[in-house]
Symmetry: C2
Subunit: 491 residues, 2 copies
Amino acid sequence: MSKKQSGSDKNENSAYKEKIRSLQRLLVAQQQTLRAKGLPIIVLVEGWAAAGKGSLINSLISELDPRFYNVTSLAVTPEAQMRYPFLYPYAKALPENGKIMFFDSGWMEDCVRRYVRREITSEEYKKRVRAVNEFERQLRDGGYLILKIFLDIDSEEQSKRMRILRDNYETEWRVTEEDLWQHREYEQFRRCYESFMEKTGKLIPWHVVDGTRRTATYESLCLLTGLTDRSLEEGRFNGKPFKEDFPLLQMPKLSEVDLSPVMPDEEYGRQLKILQNRLGELHNVVYRKKIPVIICYEGWDAAGKGGNIRRIAKPLDPRGFDVIPIAAPEPHELARHYLWRFWTSLPKSGHIRVFDRTWYGRVMVERLEGFCTEDDWKRAFNEINEFERQLTDWGAVVLKFWMHIDQDTQLSRFTDRQNIPEKQWKLTEEDWRNREKWPQYEEAVDEMIQKTSTENAPWFIIESNDKKFARIKTLKILIDALEKACRERLK
Amino acid sequence: MSKKQSGSDKNENSAYKEKIRSLQRLLVAQQQTLRAKGLPIIVLVEGWAAAGKGSLINSLISELDPRFYNVTSLAVTPEAQMRYPFLYPYAKALPENGKIMFFDSGWMEDCVRRYVRREITSEEYKKRVRAVNEFERQLRDGGYLILKIFLDIDSEEQSKRMRILRDNYETEWRVTEEDLWQHREYEQFRRCYESFMEKTGKLIPWHVVDGTRRTATYESLCLLTGLTDRSLEEGRFNGKPFKEDFPLLQMPKLSEVDLSPVMPDEEYGRQLKILQNRLGELHNVVYRKKIPVIICYEGWDAAGKGGNIRRIAKPLDPRGFDVIPIAAPEPHELARHYLWRFWTSLPKSGHIRVFDRTWYGRVMVERLEGFCTEDDWKRAFNEINEFERQLTDWGAVVLKFWMHIDQDTQLSRFTDRQNIPEKQWKLTEEDWRNREKWPQYEEAVDEMIQKTSTENAPWFIIESNDKKFARIKTLKILIDALEKACRERLK
């Protein structure tokens, strides 16, 4: 027999429900404004197993228009099965402008659980914490609102809830082996959660909500509507650039590069054969050692990117190699963080991928054509350095080639293309327009190479007035880098 | 010591190499024309383990521009791990216009291997063969060139090649347990390959190339360049519509539908609660039984799709449910078969997905606005029936709702939206323009409902002049369908 509620309890209860409902209605109205203004929101709900994350999210979305939000719940897959950087699944799930993404557990659970499982070392754990901070700051600076909630319950409560779930045939499957293991390791998890929040709460704060209190939903709704309100008032955030101390390599300016080197035909044929053979052999090793390889091509129009890439492609097994041509972003790409389309194009570990043009468009064409703000492209140098460090921390080999020619060479190649029918498709009006902006581009490229040439992801200026010389040089750099990486990976 | 080649052998050898090279060069030239004309090609290379499929593909692509082709090699994953229809990975990998996709094994290997492994019954196998024929025809009719090569070697040759691979430390990993098993079951595989080719070779022929002959590469190059040549001459293929005998349900015309039913407020509140509760319970069963559920919403502007969807969403666990709003296709979607963007948006098994507008855009807006040819939309009725049968053969529940209102109701809702500030975003110029074309749309919708209402994927006309009535009716239909599906799935 259930105890009868007293009159005042009942009143309190229905008053509480009314408060919830009014906040839910407020959120519905906000959602329409967010949609209209194109503001994206990320709501990260982390917390203990059985703390009620799913139910909380259910109350948050209860009245929302399901066309404009999504819920992502990603299991923590065993490290050995992860063929991508640990932030990849979250980056992939980024909401587009005007939409809300709820993460039912996210990068926090991923980092903490792997660490407690001892799948990653404390060195790796530290790098991941740094990457999380970078990731969140980049999203914030790119205009994303981020709300981070940690739903907290104590060990006793967790035990009680798990017992209730397991005692019921309908719900017993909800308690997994992993959850039981977490309960046994409760103290270790608590320490780790707390330390993670301390280390990642400076820029975008954590909100710890007590999951045992019946007001958890109300508190969370207040947080979400409050954040949304402030942001709607302030408008879309656009982060300021700041200087970060990345150890940079000394690089020459383009004007200092000697473009005279040439490669005699015979020597070229001989070397090409040897180098391509070696590259083919290395591909097998790279594949077996599961090393991801990312090769970036940038350069002047008609510098010979296509032919250069073809010489690299030739000896490679296409089951583990491909080329991604990067064109102007499409609408669904423009509706997200500018690095999103590159995050989602990363190769699997063990694969070699060539990017024919890259994320550096941000500091070249987007800068010069005004497709982003000054703050945007100035911030990008640092953001790209961070992104590439996350790639090399994952284990990737990252190489960046600037195919360099002088203006005379470009002109004569343009003229060639104009005159040879089979080559005409390669030459567009845009090429001529870009050519007129050579000095501005040269300035931008110089700045880019100076500011993003890091030990882990270096730029190589490839003298390409002589295409044969350029191809041999590129192949040699690639082979050196792969040999080094293969030596360093023991397994 | 190697045996010295005789003079005539040497000449023959270098003559052969020259023939290969000249065909490779021809292919390079063709590739540029294909690119310029936006013609996509699919090259399916099937055949025995160790027959040399990889090497053959390598020779075909050897001189090609890697920006305009890709190679896909998909392992046959165990059936239990496949959460999508069996054609899904191939549909996902379709090349865009102007590009070539090489499949290093594809849907043939998938069907045959699963059948020999006894992962699928002969009933299922037959359905898959039918689906393959439909898939290939649809691609051809949509302008794809398809070349199908089977690389053949006999049992003795296979044994010899595997031995050589396994004797070498560098290559031994290439021979998998699966390959060895195939060799043991050689006779069964041969029967199955032959029967598959016989059943799928009528429309788009199979080319069996003898993999033991050294001319295999040359023969394949001839096939590919020959096909390309003919297609470049003939131009992009656009298939004619034809009648297929799909068992269709008797459906009323829109004008015959009685729109008067209403649902009193009190009754609505009571029923809504009961039905939503039941739907929430069923979601658990659907999830555990891994039944994919696809719910399609189409209807007049302002018919109440959004509110209807929200009532369904409310009791569902967002970890297993979402809504995909379908807008006008983006450039990368237009560059592929029109069903591609729906293939790639299918839910995982066990998930419920609502499509807010669907592939039926083909026979409504695309038909009426002239975004496709008359043959295109006339062919689409049959293509869509096939597509949906492939979904239900996979095990999906497919429901299609037409939200129906009359013109007066639409006008009064439009006027409402115009006058209420929070609703103004819902009304666009396009809505008014569509309204002017009501008679044309009604004709198109009538034809659509008549021609695509199948037993397995039925249309339901939802009387929506009264939104409450519409919501209750939709919920009931959905619950009935899920209950039926849950009863039928034993596991």
